[in-house]
């Protein structure tokens, strides 16, 4: 299997797997217990918290563990119900784990406006400014998009928000390991991450917060995670995420360079094979290694099936419950017409790839597109 779908999820790093395996086997204590087994479990969790905190430039007590990015986003939004300012500004290319939450919350009294993006998928500060109302309590903008990798001007958004006493949340699940990530530098009040996007396990993530008082718990129970996320901790996954965060940030420069070189090589060769290829996204502000490309005249589901048959995993648009590929909402928002939209594939490179694999992928694409 040649895997080029790292933006969907990543394979778990072997060191992470080993650690998780040994924890599942040997550390069965409840972290809330005071005996040696419990203390061991607690210690593993707090080590992981330090590792993740360090990876995003913060201190451990500003992080809680969640089941992933979706839950972290939900917690930020649902907490608004206990706030006074319940208007939200977000944008039209957010993940459903933001957009669907907002629309679901509307009957509960939450009000929101979405800014649009330009043809490269970038948001403008002016657009956000014009949506700010007196009761705007939160601006939620993803740090980088999952479909074409465009990075948003979060620092500028934060500066604007500060002037208006508005909090800022950023869904950053695509970013750790692909760009420097420092919550203090960004200045955000909340940030969501998911371990399976950076070679950690699935089903675990974090919510970073600047101030815990603004948050409420979605899970009520035993008071774990400083009362913000009840339920006995998923020790092995938490520890796995901690190690994964540490590994990916230790290797950050190397990893970014490698992704950028895969991307550059892939794009230039693809342009030779198929000169009509359209690269979507913002070439100057994007995550490395994520290539969203349209093949005018082709259907992405057919291309994907042919690549799958040759054992290449890529992705396309957003697949629904029955596996159909629909035009991508994100690309539509960028003004891509339906025909080009459904001809689009996403190739996302990662640590499991080699340049030989990228060449094999190019060769297969050449066979499919010109054969």
């Amino acid at each position: 299997m040649y895997y080029f779908d790292h933006s969907a999820t990543t394979p778990v790093h072997s060191d992470v797997l080993d650690l998780m395996h040994s924890i599942q086997k040997d550390v069965y204590g409840n972290p809330s217990s005071v005996h040696s087994q419990g203390r061991k479990a607690r210690s593993l969790i707090e080590t992981a918290r330090k590792q993740v905190a360090k990876a995003i430039g913060t201190i451990p007590n500003q992080i809680i563990f969640t089941s992933g990015g979706t839950e972290a986003n939900n917690q930020v939004f649902w907490s608004l119900l206990n706030q006074n300012n319940i208007h939200v500004v977000s944008d039209t290319i957010e993940h459903p784990a933001v957009l669907k939450v907002l629309s679901e919350m509307e009957p509960h009294g939450i009000d929101y406006d979405l800014v649009t993006v330009n043809k490269n998928g970038r948001i403008s500060i002016e657009d956000i400014e014009s949506e700010i109302q007196e009761n705007t309590g939160l601006i939620s903008i993803m740090l980088a998009n999952n479909e074409m990798g465009t990075i948003q001007p979060i620092k500028e958004i934060v500066a604007l928000a500060r002037e208006n006493n508005i909090l800022v949340h950023s869904d950053a699940v695509q970013c750790l390991g692909k760009m420097p990530l420092d919550v203090n530098d960004l200045g955000v009040d909340y940030l969501s991450l998911s371990a399976h996007k950076f070679y950690g396990p699935k089903g675990i993530g974090i919510l970073y917060f600047k101030n815990k008082d603004s948050l409420s718990s979605l899970m009520i129970g035993g008071g774990q995670e400083i009362g913000l996320r009840a339920g006995t901790e998923n020790i092995a996954s938490i520890a796995g995420m901690g190690l994964a965060a540490e590994l990916v940030t230790n290797q950050l420069d190397h990893h970014i360079n490698e992704l950028a070189s895969f991307e550059a090589h892939f794009k230039s060769e693809l342009k030779t094979i198929f000169p009509n290829a359209i690269f979507n996204g913002d070439a100057n502000n994007k995550l490395p290694g994520l290539v969203c490309v349209s093949f005018p005249g082709y259907r992405s589901d057919i291309l994907m099936a042919k690549l799958d048959r040759a054992n290449f995993a890529v992705s396309s648009g957003s697949a629904c419950g029955t596996g159909n590929v629909k035009p991508s909402r994100v690309l539509s928002e960028m003004g891509v017409n339906d025909e080009t939209n459904i001809s689009t594939l996403r190739f996302s490179f990662g640590a499991s790839n080699t340049s030989e694999q990228v060449d094999l992928l190019l060769f297969e694409l050449k066979t499919i597109l010109t054969g």
Binding site: R299, D301, I302, A305, K306, D308, R309, G321, T322, G323, N324, V325, K326
Partner: protein
């Protein structure tokens, strides 16, 4: 050996069709087709997809997915609504085969690189002197050739029906022995997109109901109906006619519809001659091969799925229509339904039933 795309519905039949082809050593891929948009109340597409996925996983073949909801809506469902609006009884499954399964699906499979498609239909395809013929399936209780009579040479030449020589119980056994996860899954019934839900409620969402009177053959009002579209010729259940309208205790049957006066016309007793048709007109005739019937040719025919063969004579009116005279009058020939002709096991083609007016 060629590459075959199997239409996977998530049911047991298509699963076994795929399993047989895998056993035979063919290069197989599954393709799940979605023809109806998300509608949890009426459609189980997502559940069916999961079943199809598990079947393909068991067989170790890939599963693709394609959405023809728009094509189905435009070319099958609109016609279906038009027919109901006119008080007729359409058969969307036949149109779905011609317009979707053996056209769009087939073309998509071809684009995926398939030489042929296969489905879990109970029917057979035979090639004789480079002419493709459609035959009844071995299991006469399950035979689905009735739904396939509108196919022509080209789709038949590119299709396979691996279940044609099997009985349903064999199919269940094969599924069990192969460990297919849908081995015990209940057969689907009814029109695919309606599922087993209340048909009346379904139709109500798309067509305005226009209530009117139920009139007996001797022009007496015997009740009220909730809209002519909800009834079909020969229907007995759901008329809601209580006693006191007649001395007879026999049940009431729908014999006709007066679209102008919005009356539903009924009679009493299943033996009532008004329910039996000696002649009908068949229109939109389609013949599968080069076969063209001679006038007065004796043929076997079915005017509904799973009916026993009815013998009839055909008198061509023009290229597209004919008068069909039954040797024994047939019960409840409903306009809009299909009449399908056979010569023994060979399905010759068919047409749409229209009333014969002397």
């Amino acid at each position: 050996m060629g590459h075959i795309t199997v239409g996977m519905s998530g049911g047991v039949d298509s699963a076994v069709a795929a399993s047989i082809l895998v056993e035979q050593g063919h290069d197989i891929e599954g393709l799940f087709m979605k023809n109806w948009e998300e509608d949890s109340e009426y459609c189980n597409a997502e559940e069916d997809y999961k079943d199809a996925l598990q079947v393909c996983d068991t067989l170790d073949i890939p599963l693709r997915s394609v959405n023809f909801a728009k094509e189905y809506w435009d070319r099958v469902f609109q016609h279906f609504l038009d027919e109901y609006r006119s008080g007729r009884t359409p058969n969307p499954d036949i149109l779905c085969n011609t317009e979707i399964k053996f056209k769009e699906f087939l073309n998509f499979a071809k684009d995926l690189g398939a030489d042929k498609i296969a489905t879990g239909h109970y029917a057979k395809i035979e090639c004789r002197n480079s002419e493709y013929r459609l035959l009844k399936g071995k299991d006469k209780n399950k035979d689905q050739s009735y739904f396939l009579y509108m196919l022509s040479h080209n789709p038949l030449s590119r299709s396979e029906f691996p279940l044609g020589d099997l009985d349903k119980k064999d199919v269940r056994n094969i599924a069990k022995n192969a460990g297919l996860p849908t081995a015990d899954k209940k057969d689907s019934t009814g029109i695919c997109f309606v599922g087993e839900q209340n048909f009346k409620q379904f139709l109500e969402r798309y067509l305005p109901a226009n209530p009117g009177n139920i009139i007996s053959l001797d022009h007496k009002k015997v009740g009220t109906h909730s809209g002519l579209m909800y009834y079909t010729i020969g229907q007995r259940k759901g008329l809601g006619i209580g006693g006191g309208h007649s001395d007879l205790s026999d049940p009431w049957y729908v014999v006709g519809k007066d679209m102008v006066k919005n009356n539903l016309i009924v009679c009493q007793g299943k033996d009532n001659p008004s329910l039996y048709y000696e002649k009908i007109i068949a229109t939109q005739l389609h013949w599968i091969s080069k076969f063209k019937p001679d006038n007065d040719k004796e043929l076997a025919a079915k005017i509904r799925y799973r009916q026993k063969d009815q013998f009839c004579n055909i008198e061509m009116l023009n290229n597209n229509s004919a008068i069909i005279s039954f040797q024994k009058p047939v019960f409840a020939a409903a306009p809009g339904q299909s009449i399908v002709f056979y010569n023994d096991d060979v399905c010759l083609g068919g047409g749409i039933i229209e009333p014969y007016v002397n």
